[in-house]
């Protein structure tokens, strides 16, 4: 009954298979990751030493903007959606996603969005240059003409994310195998369920805020223009009402991945499964009431400032619970350190460091000194690179044998890990220091007192970039010529995905499995 995939390009254009679509998401996000990485390297090359060497300040601003947009919307989010496509049906024992045709559509509009966004680089006046946070009025009254293309690109990405999220929720709530109760679902499925709700709640807000920009620019409204009774600060409130949950959209699925990998290589069940679920839900809830901590210096009333400070500090509690649970999972386990485990342990440690700087940033008076400096840049790269990127990398190493039926080379994987780990820390750790010493973010040139840290950061960035090229090579060579993987792949991994053969057949669970 199971028929194989169609042949040629039509397979990919018309596919409604969750595995094909998952692979396309992953390849697309990898391409965007490399593109965003090139933008980052332009930034780091310019900042290698004081003075203007390589690019014009306006182009530098385009690079910081495009780097942020491409990494957030092009690399991290599609990668998680790709992993969800591949893994969610297999983890809950479903034959496919609930809405396979919408699944195809939500992937295929993405390349158009990013083609439009990237094409702005070649337009007159250049690409968006107002930062990925695009604060009005710099992004409205003072924006380059390409801003309209940027707005449409955001609309398309938003539509793609919302369709993806609806699909994931519909799948999880309706397609679970008999016996797969909610509290038996793997944490990756749980975190994605919560993430999907966050996406549906906030992506429309992002669409709303860019729509308001569009109307201010072209149709004479003044949502964000004081002259017509609007307020630029309103922009920031709406943006961050989207933006803070967005931050968790980029980290919650990572929690799920790590919660799958650490138990496997500790040979011990995940500690505190239920508390992990509750902690994820509380983090998601809190993400809606902390947005203004991005705006402490905007001049809010004292009561507002205190509220957002306390609410933000509270996030440390459920996040702490997660870290403690992972630690307890490893404690008294029987540990081995395969590549996915290395990335996961690095995730826990480095994400915790990012959490510490986040806690420091939550303290409003101290934030008056930290705000918009490299300390903030260090903070969010410490949560996003080891957080999102390392977890995605760990997931690829962990499940690649299941996807491709072939094993990657452990030596190569470990080399990749150590290069990435060292590169990351050399790049981002010095940013804490340059930020505290007073270097503002988003500047193309700086005083000599920041020169040493910046030079180190730039060297680290190129090392990290090189490590990702190695990653690309490892993935391709595994798929092409890796040795055969067993069905179980790892020693005693938990989950339905390990009960099917490697590589996973084109159609899995056409008859639902029994879940005890």
């Amino acid at each position: 009954m199971a028929h194989g995939p169609a042949k040629g390009i039509a397979r990919w254009l018309y596919t409604t298979n969750h595995k094909d679509i998952g692979s396309m998401y992953l390849w697309f996000s990898f391409a965007m990751f490399l593109l965003g990485g090139v933008f980052a390297l332009v930034i780091r090359a310019e900042l290698f030493q004081p003075g203007l060497q390589i690019v014009d300040p306006n182009f530098f601003n385009q690079m910081t903007t495009m780097h942020g947009l491409v990494m957030v919307f092009g690399a991290v989010m599609p990668a998680f959606v790709g992993l969800a496509n591949w893994m969610v049906p297999m983890m809950i024992g479903a034959p496919d996603m609930a809405l396979p045709r919408m699944n195809n559509w939500s992937f295929w509009i993405l390349p158009f969005a990013f083609a439009m966004l990237t094409s702005t680089l070649f337009m007159e006046g250049g690409a968006p240059n107002f930062g990925w946070t695009f604060y009005a009025p710099l992004s409205t009254t003072y924006a380059p003409p390409s801003v309209t293309f940027f707005i449409f690109a955001i609309h398309i990405m938003g539509a793609s994310s919302i369709m993806g999220a609806i699909n994931i929720i519909a799948t999880i709530l309706n397609m679970r195998a008999p016996g797969m109760t909610l509290m038996k679902m793997p944490l990756f499925v749980w975190t994605w369920l919560i993430t999907a709700y966050l996406l549906i709640a906030v992506m429309p807000v992002l669409a709303g805020v860019v729509t308001m920009m569009l109307m201010d620019i072209h149709f004479g409204t003044s949502f964000f223009n004081a002259a017509g009774g609007g307020d630029p600060v309103l922009f920031q409130h709406i943006f961050w009402f989207f933006g803070h949950p967005e931050v968790y959209i980029m980290i919650l699925p990572a929690f799920g991945i790590v919660s799958a990998i650490i138990p496997t290589f500790s040979r011990k069940p995940l500690f505190g499964y239920a508390s992990m679920v509750y902690a994820t839900a509380s983090i998601a809830f809190l993400s809606f009431i902390v947005w203004a901590h991005h705006m402490f210096t905007v001049g809010m009333p004292l009561a507002g400032e205190l509220f957002f400070m306390y609410a933000t500090m509270l996030i440390a509690v459920p996040t702490g619970v997660k870290v403690f649970n992972w630690t307890a999972t490893m404690f008294k386990g029987s540990l081995t350190f395969e590549t996915p485990m290395l990335f996961s342990i690095a995730f826990v440690i480095l994400f915790t460091i990012g959490g510490f700087s986040g806690l420091m940033l939550a303290i409003a008076p101290a934030d008056f000194q930290y705000h918009d400096t490299y300390f903030v840049v260090a903070h969010f790269h410490y949560v996003l690179v080891p957080g999102a990127i390392f977890s995605i990398t760990a997931a690829v190493y962990y499940w690649l044998p299941k996807w491709s039926g072939r094993m990657y080379s452990e030596v190569m994987g470990k080399t990749h890990f150590w290069l990435a780990f060292i590169g990351l820390n050399v790049t981002f750790f010095p940013m804490h220091f340059s930020g505290l010493a007073g270097m503002p973010r988003r500047i193309p040139d700086y005083h000599m007192m920041f020169a040493d840290w910046n030079m180190i950061s730039s060297i680290g960035a190129f090392l990290f970039g090189g490590a990702q090229v190695l990653f690309l090579y490892i993935v391709i060579s595994t798929i092409v010529s890796g040795r055969k993987a067993t069905d179980k792949v790892w020693e005693n991994p938990e989950g339905l995905e390990w009960t099917v053969p490697s590589p996973a057949p084109y159609h899995t669970f056409s008859t639902p499995p029994e879940v005890k």
Binding site: M212, G220, A226, A227, D231, V233, F241
Partner: protein, 189 residues
Amino acid sequence: MKRLMPDNPIHAICLKLGALGVGMFVFAIWVMPPMYDVFCEITGLNGKTGGPYQAVSAEVDTSRTITVQFVATNNEGMPWQFAPEVRTVKVHPGEQKRINYHAVNPTDRDMIGQAIPSLVPFKAANYFHKTECFCFEQQPLKAGESAELPMYFIIDQDIPENIHTITLSYALFDVTERYADNKVTKVTQ
């Protein structure tokens, strides 16, 4: 009664989630901005002062004196000369006071300006009442013309004891293009 939800549970949940998405979009554009304005009004956020005020009592509290400072800034591309006639006045709560801003349009074209008030400290914003103000309307000035722009205000008797100084700023914007048809409309600032 016709059932609202389709039979297929997958379609039902899509409908609900789609509605949530549309709802959040509507929330962002049509609910958040007015909510923000109400919030600003309650807290005095950004020092936004209210619209025309009807004086209720003429009782003057002579036991207190409050210093009111006036500053004026021009937004980008606004070539008018624009300044208060006096930089500070001292008033008693409850007393109505008039002050003038002086504006000159030095260019060779007719222009329209809009002054946006903002006041610090924010917590004083709810106690600072303008009975008449040039900022309630756009101000057209012909090429080379000048004008005295009056503003009448009363400080509420209930103003908190610890406020001794209030600074009122007007930022002047060029809105000539926005109101190119010279139709002067009311805005509530």
